[in-house]
Symmetry: C2
């Protein structure tokens, strides 16, 4: 472990930032609240995009692209939406600079003021539903199953790399349906897609649930979410799928002629995940030695480090290493062979360990003699010596095993850190001492949730979809409750 690197115990928040920076995932930019996503961090996002994009297309969606700018007036059309989004946003007011008459660079040209200000999209429901109006006349034009990969901007005051940034990258699905049932089915389907992705690619177990009114998307009738638990006991919302009802269709006058010839408003959903998932990935699996990545999303799945003292050894070792690389690549494994002579093997071991490369293969002259290599796995930090002809097989099965192990470990962690609380005192004590998910009764009102939040900073993460009804009393008000909900402090 690098000396200038924090452990989770010492300072969880600094540990996170250290990983982001030292693993070269991202860095703060010259623009307040905006980050630069560096190549290694961006490669993780590309792998996420590629897996998700395939899942979206397999469920019948196509990609499209809508403008970055949204006319200000569009936000006023859906009352909840403007409350939730239009307030903290980047506003374009002018379209030209001119030379400063004082000769000091450029200044805004006041003659080039826009008649109507443009908002940088914080989310695209308004501009998209304004567009859908022209796409839909009859039931034959439905459903519209569209997704957009884009950048969005929300003027956050307190930002953290990946987790909360003023600009972030995401995908936003926006679908239009003829019936409420079909729209609801789509909402559930995309929630399942997200949960599948989180568990099977990110190796992060998630709870599927419904948001309480306080946490609902501005403009939605119902927000569904997947919630993950981080190693510091805080929750992280990893994806949301919204049932928008006919709110946006009404705001933008999107109607269709039904099979029966009646004019009806269109039903809507929207759903999204963002570069925040990279933050979740880091916090879910990494350890005090740096980043740990699940093989399915790792930009490099296996790295080969040659060990040698002279040119002759270098040639011998590298020739063998290149054979191994070629064999691994035949199996579809993403391999890096690091034969740089500017860095020592020990430095490279640390580097790839810190960057979370799942499997490391070291090969030196003695290995060549013995027909072996040393294989180390990042998740358990264990090593084994295997015969050269078993490398491909070993690495292939290790990658599967590491993916599984990370998921099981995260699942065990979540189980350990999911507790029930039956009284207000117990609730507060658990929150402060242990964190994690707390299953507790709640009277179902927004006021109570708000008061609990003010006193403890904990919010209702979700009302789980697979919950069992259980009579009880609200931990805060003592009023009757029909089910436990999931509380936590959250990112």
């Amino acid at each position: 472990m690098a000396k200038d690197f924090s452990t989770r115990e010492e300072n969880y928040s600094k540990w996170y930032n250290d990983i982001v920076q030292r693993a070269e995932l991202a860095e703060n930019s010259a623009v307040r609240g905006c980050m630069v996503i560096k190549p290694y961090g961006y490669a993780i996002w590309e792998n996420m995009q590629s897996a998700l994009d395939k899942m979206f297309k397999d469920t019948g969606h196509s990609n499209a692209y809508f403008p970055l700018f949204i006319p200000k007036s569009f936000f006023s059309k859906e009352a909840d939406h403007v409350e939730g989004f239009a307030k903290e946003c980047a506003i374009v007011t002018h379209y030209r600079l001119k030379n400063d008459p004082d000769g000091k660079g450029v200044i805004v040209d006041e003659d080039a003021k826009l008649e109507e200000e443009l908002i940088i999209r914080p989310t695209s429901e308004t501009i998209i539903w304004d567009t859908y109006r022209n796409w839909v006349q009859s039931y034959r034009d439905l459903p519209i199953l569209v997704n957009q990969w884009a950048n969005v901007v929300r003027w956050e005051m307190r930002t953290r790399m990946f987790l909360r940034t003023a600009e972030f990258l995401w995908q936003e699905g926006h679908t239009a349906h003829a019936t409420k049932e079909e729209a609801l089915q789509e909402t559930y389907q995309m929630l399942d897609v997200y949960a599948d992705f989180a568990e099977n690619f990110m190796a992060i177990p998630v709870l599927k649930g419904i948001k309480s009114e306080n946490e609902r998307f501005a403009g939605a009738l119902e927000t569904f979410c997947i919630e993950a638990l981080m190693q510091d006991g805080k929750a992280l919302q990893a994806g949301t799928s919204h049932f928008l009802g006919q709110n946006f269709a009404k705001a933008f006058d999107v109607k269709f002629a039904s099979k029966e010839g009646k004019l009806e408003y269109v039903w809507a959903t929207s759903w999204g995940v963002s570069t925040r998932l990279v933050g979740a990935l880091i916090m879910a699996h990494s350890d005090d030695h740096g980043l740990v990545l699940p093989p399915k999303l790792a930009p490099i799945q296996a790295v080969i480090v040659p060990i040698y003292k002279n040119k002759e050894q270098y040639d011998l070792v590298c020739s063998k290493a290149r054979d191994i690389k070629a064999n691994l690549e035949k199996q579809g494994i993403i391999v890096k062979f690091d034969d740089r002579d500017t860095h020592k093997p020990g430095w490279k071991f640390n580097e790839y360990e810190f960057k979370g490369v799942p499997v490391r293969i070291a090969i030196g002259p003695r290995d060549v003699e013995n027909g072996t290599v040393e294989i180390a796995r990042r998740d358990t930090l264990t090593k084994e010596v295997v015969g050269v002809d078993q490398v491909s097989e070993t690495v292939s099965s290790l990658l599967v095993d590491i993916q599984q192990t990370l998921f099981q470990r995260a699942l065990a962690f979540r189980k350990e850190n999911t507790r029930t609380a039956d009284s207000w005192e117990e609730f507060k004590a658990l929150l402060d001492d242990k964190g994690g998910f707390i299953m507790a009764h709640w009277d179902g009102t927004a006021e109570t949730e708000q008061k609990i939040k003010e006193e403890t900073k904990a919010t209702i993460r979700c009302i789980p979809l697979d919950d069992v009804k259980e009579a009880g009393k609200c931990i805060f008000t003592g009023k009757p409750s029909e089910r436990r909900v999931v509380f936590a402090r959250a990112y």
Copy 2:
């Protein structure tokens, strides 16, 4: 041909717009100068992205992401750059809206004015070189080979879908090198990548050349380009690769310690292509029957249309069609089977012809009886009847042939429309009567080029890289010239 659709002869500009709209590639949005890229148009862009991204990665580049916003002061750091870009741009001045006290929606909150305005990136050299300063200390940190897929905004006054829009999608490569030679080599390499892509994927022959000073990228020492010829005889710049020298390194103070321990400024390149290429693709190949797409970029390579009169025939035909689809997909061909019962076969034929699907397969009950299908190719509009067991083979080879045919056709068109002019009168007559590329002598001065542009709207598209030196006299000034350059009116 659809009756409400213009031919090239009647109105080239309307023909283009009709194709964009009726083939559902894009449409104008509610935001001035910004378009909505519809799923079918976006799928073409995705295919372009995927091919280019692979070529970039094969030449050692990685993707990254830099902020959408650029602090205004950054533009003033490189004198030519600010002249070229900072003038017509979208400017963010505020970061909050508030409720209108009059109760009419939302207004800009004047208390939330930014200290320094932010420019929506028109191109990212400035923010990226500001970032590179921290990435580079020694020669060991070089080269940096980074590409970004992003949206950019240039406040164009006259816009046309795909060809010139206020917001557009593009990729911008930004590389940093230790030596001038290496940077120049990169500039040439990426020009070759673009030419390869244009010719082998887009099926558009391009001229590789150097831009004259007037047409050079603002901040570059030298701009290289690929130039294509459209069917109306106008040129279209399809990609540029810039040798930036040390301009941005000096503006942003990016130095490195060389192997010899000397502090030196870093050498730079940048290169980009945009969604404008979709416009080029449309104009290069399409005909009076609609869009024509090269198979390598077509979202649907082959469509199967079933022909039937009743349920029995439907079942018979569709069962066969599904077999054919599965066989084609085994060959890696992207197939759509359109079994919708809401539209007649004739309607579907027109639809896919208009959308430029390279190959159409029709199958009816008599075909099933005879063990045949009818295969039509979009480029030549010819049809043939082939045995069911030859479908895969026929379609595979047709796709290769169509790709070739489109390229050869475009190449022949360019040859026919590349002419020499040896006098000013001849030059003007050729421009007005024929258009196309005109090879003519030029005295090498910016003034002359500017005057020619003012009188004829023609510009120097490039000084071809493969030109032969030839003594002559400038068509405008009569001064001596060493080579012919390529003039044209351009998009």
